[in-house]
């Protein structure tokens, strides 16, 4: 209790606006251009709203989960760009970027999964035969950071630009080279293809995992493929000859209210 009180005194008004003001990032109530909102790729017109603590404005509630717990803003943007090439927006529906896949990945890398908590990590480590599964000492969070850095380094070498500045086709070229894993190594013994595989898997997970994990925004990943989410029973539908389209429900609906 005592600790909590102390904490509250230090930040008398927990709003983002006040925090930003106190930390010197705001001038007259506006976020200094390019510091935070700008780096996250937000529409500059929305900056004002952000500063005005949009969570309580008439604009409605904004998802507090759309915030970073692992990436730097630049890493976030590179992840957005790369995942969008893996699962692009098209006439069927949104792509990885709109679905918040990069938010999902950020949260996963900050989770126990990012530090390989449930993997056997004792040595020694040897080069495996293809049938023996990965034998990597490096943690997923570190590999991902190296992978993102690698995307920029390789893009610089090939096109003299960072990954996010490339045209879509150029980004695809870079990703193909990463997938093949022949062009260069992220670090001694670490193929780019290992990183690419994780990136690809995480993208699919971010499109289709329950929205509580941060991706699959508004269940749009599910809607695209007529997946009804996590309903409790399909006893009726399963025997129907015709396809039965249902509105998806997420685990939120299991909370009872």
């Amino acid at each position: 209790m005592a600790d909590k009180d102390k904490h509250q005194k230090q930040v008398p008004d927990g709003s983002r606006r006040n925090f930003l003001k106190n930390s010197g990032l705001t001038v007259g109530g506006l976020v200094v251009g390019g510091t935070i909102a700008g780096l996250l790729g937000a529409n500059p017109e929305n900056n004002n709203q952000g500063v005005k603590n949009s969570e309580t404005t008439s604009q409605g509630y904004k998802n507090p989960n759309e915030a970073l717990m692992f990436f730097t803003p630049a890493q976030y943007q590179t992840t957005q760009a790369a995942t969008e090439r893996i699962f692009p927006k098209d006439e069927i529906g949104p792509g990885a970027k709109e679905l918040n896949v990069a938010i999902y990945i950020d949260h996963q890398l900050a989770s126990p999964w990012g530090i390989n908590a449930k993997n056997y990590m004792l040595g020694p480590f040897y080069e495996p035969a293809p049938t023996q599964g990965p034998q990597l000492r490096i943690l997923r969070k570190d590999m991902f950071r190296l992978g993102l850095q690698g995307l920029d380094d390789y893009s610089q070498k090939k096109y003299q630009k960072v990954f996010t500045e490339l045209e879509a086709e150029e980004q695809d070229e870079v990703l193909v080279d990463f997938e093949e894993g022949e062009a260069f190594q992220l670090t001694a013994g670490l193929s780019t293809s290992v990183f690419f595989t994780i990136l690809k898997t995480l993208t699919i997970e971010g499109v289709y995992a329950d929205p509580m994990y941060g991706g699959n925004k508004e269940m749009q990943g599910w809607k695209m493929r007529n997946y009804p989410g996590t309903r409790m029973s399909y006893a009726q539908e399963i025997v129907e000859e015709k396809f039965v389209k249902l509105n998806p429900e997420s685990l939120r609906s299991h909370m009872g209210q």
Binding site: G95, K118, N119, Q132, M232, Y234, E237, I238, L251, H254
Partner: protein, 571 residues
């Protein structure tokens, strides 16, 4: 130093189906039992938020924590075995219920042929049909002797199904009727009937109707909720030790169930065990639990590992073929499927159940003539509907890139418009496929890991090449816009192949020279040790193993009761 606890009549290591059945049978008979389980206590109320594909299927929430313990694997004796560092193939259970919580519930009996496989194969095809190197042997028991135990398991679990003429005779029908037939199952039914086969609805541990078992346990009917394989059932509809045998054992007041108790060793003098050593995984305290009878029910891998690390039984030696602990490790084959793709048909594939499917018996066991083929045994050929969860199911036609615009388009197009005709094929034992102790790697408690040396044999591969023609024929008879077949069984890959039907290593038999346990799963070398599980199978059949494992657990429970009275070997 370990703290020595008061002696008990029976200690059981592992609280899955095998441990749970033994616990319930013994405690009902008034015997005091201590149950040691390394994982946590689990109940149905844990599953309110279970419809979470990421957490349960892709982050393996219910499964063994590999940071504590894993196996090492290699494809042959010349390779260096390396640890399975992350999940792929085997998703071993952890916590009360074991893998019986996250299993599918497909509950078969093995065939009369299985139990007398060597005798019957030689009788029909002559002594040379079984090729050199294949350590195929009879089980020391017949189907007729197994029948009452199967019956007991099926009644306890409430198995839903229909009688199949081509299989072993049943004294009683299944306790509940078969599961529903979905349109894709009806397509398979029609096509296989056209081809002259006799399809049947897969026997299921997901209840087709509400059921009360002989122990008085009532369970609800399956809702086809699609979060079944890899998940616990929030309705208690799926047969699971935590909703059947474990509560029954607890109710007697005779079960002392200790979770977070990781057993590291069986204390023994080579002829008899006096108890086990375990560590409380939360406090780190070490205990010695003395017992008159030690039951090892910790799944195939640890059953073998315990015996080898504790110096019980004779280790199998692949160079001489002598010894039995670690021998006849088998798996199953699953390549050979044919996938149907439809352009303008959508099915309600989002719904399903772990044991919802339809199958033909004509290619199982010795139900077809093997004279002109280079393999024995067979496969169940089937269509299943488990519920296509979206992270795991993104089937695209061959040639489609694995990412990008085209992948997105095709994977969404076929999300509800594609299904396979699959096989589940038997796997025969070979002298070079075995389990022993890894010389290098250890678990979190400093105990050496188990090493698996395994690859598919020529026999396994021939079987797949034959069965793929059958799945293809059926797929074509169903008819689709596009059909693709997986023609060959490649090398065994510890992170790709998917099935947790491991068998062997502590095999049963009639002869102490060629088996480790008798048909009560009592060790020949140490009569107060019973090793229970599919580790007892001398080979793996073309059916899911748990029906047979459950039946053998009932038989072992009977044997333990007799042994407690007589103190003698049962055979």
């Amino acid at each position: 130093m370990s703290k020595k606890l008061p002696k008990v009549p029976v200690v059981i290591v592992g609280m899955g189906w095998a441990g749970g059945i033994i616990a319930s049978e013994l405690t009902k008979a008034g015997i005091e039992v201590v149950g040691l389980e390394r994982g946590k206590e689990r109940q149905v109320k844990d599953f309110l938020m279970v419809h979470d594909e990421l957490r349960y299927q892709h982050r393996e929430d219910l499964m063994q924590d590999l940071s504590k313990e894993t196996i090492t694997s290699r494809n042959n004796g010349k390779m260096k075995a390396l640890p399975m560092r992350e999940y792929g193939t085997f998703i071993v259970g952890d916590g009360t219920g074991g893998a019986g919580t996250h299993w599918n519930g497909q509950t078969y009996r093995f065939l009369p042929y299985d139990f007398e496989i060597k005798t019957m194969t030689e009788k029909r095809y002559g002594p040379n049909k079984i090729k050199p190197g294949y350590t195929i042997q009879d089980w020391g028991i017949t189907y007729d002797e197994m029948e009452p135990y199967y019956d007991k398991f099926e009644k306890m679990a409430g198995i839903s199904g229909e009688t199949v003429e081509l299989y072993g005779p049943r004294k009683n029908p299944y306790p509940t009727g078969p599961m529903v037939k979905t349109p894709i199952m009806e397509d398979f039914e029609k096509a296989t009937k056209n081809l002259g086969y006799t399809p049947y609805v897969m026997p299921s541990g997901n209840l087709s109707e509400p059921y009360t078992n002989p122990d008085g346990i009532s369970r609800a009917a399956c809702q086809y909720c699609a979060y079944c394989e890899n998940f616990g059932c929030e309705y208690g509809a799926k047969a699971d030790p935590i909703v059947t045998v474990i509560p029954v054992a607890k109710q007697t007041g005779k079960l002392d169930l200790r979770t977070h108790s990781n057993v590291t060793k069986i204390i023994n003098d080579g002829k008899k065990a006096s108890g086990v050593i375990y560590v409380n995984t939360i406090t780190g305290e070490e205990f010695e639990q003395p017992a008159d009878v030690v039951v090892i029910a910790s799944y195939v891998f640890n059953n073998v590992r315990f015996l080898l690390n504790s110096g019980l039984g004779k280790p199998y030696d692949p160079t001489t073929g002598t010894g039995s602990v670690g021998k006849n490790y088998c798996y199953q084959v699953t390549a050979g499927s044919s996938i149907l793709f439809f352009n303008d048909k959508q099915f309600n594939l989002y719904g399903g159940a772990g044991a919802l499917g339809i199958e033909i018996p004509e290619f199982t066991g010795d139900n077809f003539d093997h004279t002109d083929v280079n393999f024995i045994h067979g496969a169940g050929i089937r269509v299943t509907q488990y519920g296509n969860r979206p992270i795991a199911n993104n089937t695209v036609p061959k040639g489609t890139p694995s990412w990008g615009a085209e992948f997105k388009k095709q994977s969404i197009k076929y999300a509800n418009s594609s299904f396979p005709v699959k096989i589940q094929g038997a796997s025969m034992p070979h002298e070079q496929n075995y389990l022993d102790i890894d010389p290098t790697y250890k678990d979190a408690y400093g105990v050496p890991l188990l090493r698996m040396t395994f690859d598919y044999t020529d026999q396994d591969k021939e079987l797949v090449s034959y069965m793929v023609k059958v799945t293809r024929k059926i797929a074509e008879e169903i008819g689709a816009d596009h059909i693709e077949s997986i023609e060959t069984q490649g090398e065994f890959n510890v992170n790709k192949d998917s099935n947790t039907h491991n068998t062997g290593g502590v095999i049963m038999g009639a002869d102490p020279e060629t088996s480790a346990v008798n048909t009560y799963l009592q060790m020949w070398d140490a009569p107060n040790v019973f090793v229970v599980g599919s580790s007892a199978f001398p080979h793996n059949s073309c059916f899911n193993p748990t029906g047979t494992l459950g039946a053998l657990s009932y038989r072992a429970a009977e044997g333990i009761q007799t042994y407690l009275k007589t103190g003698e070997p049962l055979v």
